[in-house]
C-alpha cells in the first residue's frame, strides 16, 4: 500500500493504526484537520494517542498533544497500558503537551472581552519545541464548555488550524457525539475547520460491545465507504477493513493440482484440486471432514507450501492433539512458520474481523493452502446466511487473486440413513445454495448396510476438470484416511 497521490491532489499521511489506513486509502489528509466524533467509550482518545505514537516511532513525525480533558500525567499513565512510553518520548523531545486539562481552582469571567491567544501561543511553542508534524486535540466540547465567548473559541481554533496547515502539520481532534442528531455543528466548527469527519459508535452485541466506524467525509480524497468494525486491543486499535471483491484477476490454474496425499483420492480428483479452487467438503459428524483437511495441509507442507488452519469448531490445542494422534506434529510446523492458526469467538462474530484475521494469517506466512473448519459453524453462530455468503464471496475473491486453494468443511445433517439406491436423495439445499461460490463439492456419506455403517465419498462437482463420478468407500485409520473400493449396491 502507498499513499502517493496525483500531483496537486491532497497528500495523505499514514496513521500507522492497523487497518485504519486501508479504510482511509492511505491515511488522513496531510496538513489538514480530521475530526473523530463518537460517544463515551468509543475509543476516540485511543485513536489520537496511537496516531501520535505511531507517527513518532514509525514515521519519524514528532507530535503535540493538546488536552482539554485529561491531565497530562493521567494520559501518560493511561497509554502505558498499550506499552507506549510517553515519558521517554518527551525526554527525547519528540512529544510535547499543551496541558489544558481541568483546573483545580475556580475561574470566573468578567465580561467577554478576552481572547484565546495564549492557547495559540502555547501550541506554537510546543510545535517549535519538538518540530512537530502531527497534533491532536482532545476534546473540543471541553474547550467550548469552558468559555462563554464562543466566538473567541471558534476564532482561536480557526487560527490554529490555518497556521498548522501552513506548517504542514496534520491534525486529529475529537468531539463528543451523544445522540444521532447531535453533531459538532452546534459549535459551528465542523464545517469550517474539519476536512475529514470519522464517526465511531458502540453497538450492543450478545456478549460484548461491538465497535463500528464510519468515514463521513475526507475532503478531496478517496476513502472506502461503509461501516467497518474495529477493536481496542492491548496494542492499540485494529480496524477490520472490508476486503474489496476482486473478480477481474484470478490465479486459478487447472494445470496446477493440489493433492491430499491420500492414495487414490487424488486420482479420483483428476490429480488434485486445481489451484485457486474453493472446495466444499460436506458430511455429517464423524465422516472425517477435519481429517481430510489435515491431509490436505500436511501434503502442502510436504510440497514446500505454507498453510493455514481456521478452527471455528474446536480449540486449537485440541486440533493439535488430534493431529498428533495421527502422527502430524502441528506444533512443530507452527513453530517453524509453516502452519498458521486462526480462531475466533463464535458469539458476536463479524465478517470483516474474521476475514481480516484469515488474510493476516495467510499473508504472514505467504500461505498457499487454507482449511476452514467449518463454514457451517458460522451459520450456526450469529452470522446470517446472507453474511456467510458475502463472507465467502469476499474470501473467494481474495484467494483466487492470490492463487490460494481452500477447503471448507460443511456439516451436513441430511446425508445419514439414505435409503437403498438413493444415496444422494437427501442432499441438503444449503450446499446447493453455497454451490455458486464453490468450485468443487466432495460429499461424504454414511450408509447403513448389513449391520454396518459404511463411509462413502463422491466428487459431486469439480469445475473445469475431469473427475470420477463413482462413489467410493473409505475408512478412517490411525495414520489417516484410506480409500477403498468403488461402492456398488
Amino acid at each position: 500500500m502507498q499513499n502517493k497521490t496525483k500531483k496537486g491532489a491532497v497528500e495523505k499521511v499514514f496513521t500507522g493504526i492497523r487497518g485504519f489506513d486501508e479504510i482511509l486509502m492511505g491515511g488522513v489528509p496531510k496538513g489538514r484537520a480530521t475530526l473523530i466524533t463518537g460517544g463515551t467509550g468509543t475509543g476516540k482518545t485511543v485513536i489520537l494517542n496511537e496516531f501520535l505514537y505511531r507517527g513518532i516511532t514509525q514515521f519519524k513525525e514528532n507530535g503535540v498533544y493538546v488536552t482539554f480533558e485529561e491531565d497530562k500525567r493521567d494520559i501518560i499513565k493511561n497509554v502505558l497500558g498499550f506499552g507506549w512510553n510517553y515519558g521517554s518520548l518527551i525526554a527525547q523531545k519528540k512529544l510535547a503537551f499543551v496541558d489544558a486539562g481541568a483546573l483545580k481552582e475556580m475561574t470566573f469571567e468578567s465580561g467577554q472581552s478576552y481572547d484565546l491567544s495564549p492557547l495559540i501561543e502555547r501550541v506554537r511553542y510546543a510545535i517549535k519545541k519538538v518540530k512537530a508534524k502531527r497534533l491532536v486535540i482532545d476534546c473540543l466540547d471541553n474547550l467550548f464548555s469552558r468559555f462563554q465567548n464562543r466566538d473567541a473559541v471558534r476564532q482561536a481554533l480557526c487560527q490554529i488550524i490555518a497556521e498548522l496547515k501552513e506548517l504542514g502539520v496534520t491534525v486529529l481532534m475529537t468531539a463528543e457525539k451523544s445522540g444521532p442528531e447531535q453533531s459538532l455543528s452546534r459549535y459551528g466548527v465542523e464545517e469550517f475547520v474539519a476536512d475529514g469527519v470519522i464517526e465511531l459508535a458502540l453497538i450492543k452485541g450478545q456478549q460484548q460491545f461491538l465497535r463500528r466506524m464510519f468515514v463521513i467525509k475526507l475532503r478531496g480524497t478517496n476513502f472506502r465507504s461503509g461501516t467497518v468494525e474495529y477493536e481496542i486491543t492491548d496494542q492499540g486499535l485494529v480496524v477490520y477493513p472490508k476486503i474489496p471483491v476482486e473478480n477481474i484477476f484470478a490465479k486459478t490454474d487447472f494445470q496446477v493440482r493440489k493433492g491430499f496425499g491420500i492414495k487414490d483420492l487424488d486420482d479420483i480428483l483428476g490429480g488434485g484440486i486445481p489451484q485457486g479452487h474453493m472446495v466444499l467438503v460436506s458430511g455429517n459428524t464423524g465422516t472425517g471432514k477435519t481429517m481430510f483437511g489435515m491431509h490436505f495441509l500436511m501434503q502442502g507442507i510436504g510440497k514446500g507450501e505454507n498453510v493455514v488452519f481456521v478452527s471455528l469448531e474446536e480449540p486449537i490445542e485440541q486440533v493439535k492433539k488430534t493431529a498428533l494422534t495421527h502422527g502430524w506434529d502441528f506444533n512443530r510446523q507452527e513453530k517453524e512458520g509453516r502452519l498458521g492458526f486462526v480462531t475466533t469467538n463464535l458469539i458476536d462474530i463479524s465478517n470483516d474481523k474474521l476475514l481480516y484475521h484469515i488474510i493476516s494469517a495467510v499473508e504472514g506466512i505467504n500461505a498457499k493452502r487454507v482449511v476452514i473448519d467449518s463454514i457451517s459453524s458460522l451459520l450456526s453462530a450469529t452470522m446470517s446466511e446472507e453474511q456467510v455468503r458475502q463472507f465467502l464471496i469476499q474470501l473467494s475473491g481474495y484467494f483466487k487473486a492470490n492463487g490460494i486453494t481452500c477447503i471448507m468443511n460443511y456439516l451436513s445433517l441430511s446425508n445419514f440413513g439414505a435409503a437403498r439406491g438413493q444415496l444422494l436423495s437427501h442432499l441438503s439445499t444449503n450446499e446447493m445454495r453455497l454451490s455458486s461460490v464453490t468450485d468443487a463439492i466432495i460429499m461424504l456419506l454414511f450408509v447403513e448396510r448389513g449391520q454396518k455403517i459404511k463411509k462413502l465419498l463422491n466428487v459431486l462437482k469439480l469445475r473445469g476438470s475431469q473427475h470420477s463420478k463413482e462413489i467410493f468407500s473409505y475408512e478412517i485409520e490411525k495414520d489417516g484416511i484410506k480409500m477403498g473400493e468403488k461402492y456398488e449396491e
Binding site: 489544558a100 483546573l103 470566573f108 468578567s110 465580561g111 478576552y114 492557547l119 501561543e121 502555547r122 468559555f147
Partner: protein, 93 residues
C-alpha cells in the same frame, strides 16, 4: 506592612485590551490594597513556558495566589465589584 495579596496578570502582547486590564486592576489595588499587594505582569508572547505551567488559555487572566483559595478571572477586569467578588477579596480598609 507585609505583602498579603499576591496576584499575577497574564496578557498577550501590548494591546489596548491588555492595557485596559492592567489599568483596571492597578486602580483597584491602589485604591484598596496599597502597600500590601504584589502584582506580576506576564506576557504570554515572551514567556509561553509560564503560560503552559499555569495552564493559561485566555488573556487577560488574573490569578490570585494569596490569600487562598487560588482563583482566576478572565476578561478585561472592568467591573470592580465582580472582581472583588470573584477573587473573594474584601477591602482592607
Amino acid at each position: 506592612m507585609a505583602v498579603k495579596y499576591v496576584l499575577k496578570l497574564y496578557v498577550t502582547g501590548v494591546t489596548s485590551r491588555s492595557k485596559t486590564a492592567l489599568e483596571n486592576i492597578k486602580r483597584i489595588l491602589e485604591e484598596d490594597y496599597k502597600g500590601v499587594y504584589s502584582l506580576k505582569v506576564i506576557d504570554v508572547l515572551k514567556q509561553p513556558k509560564l503560560a503552559e505551567e499555569d495552564k493559561i488559555l485566555a488573556t487577560p487572566t488574573l490569578i490570585k495566589i494569596l490569600p487562598p483559595p487560588v482563583a482566576r478571572i478572565v476578561g478585561d477586569l472592568s467591573n470592580k465589584e465582580n472582581i472583588l467578588l470573584g477573587l473573594d477579596l474584601v477591602a482592607v480598609r
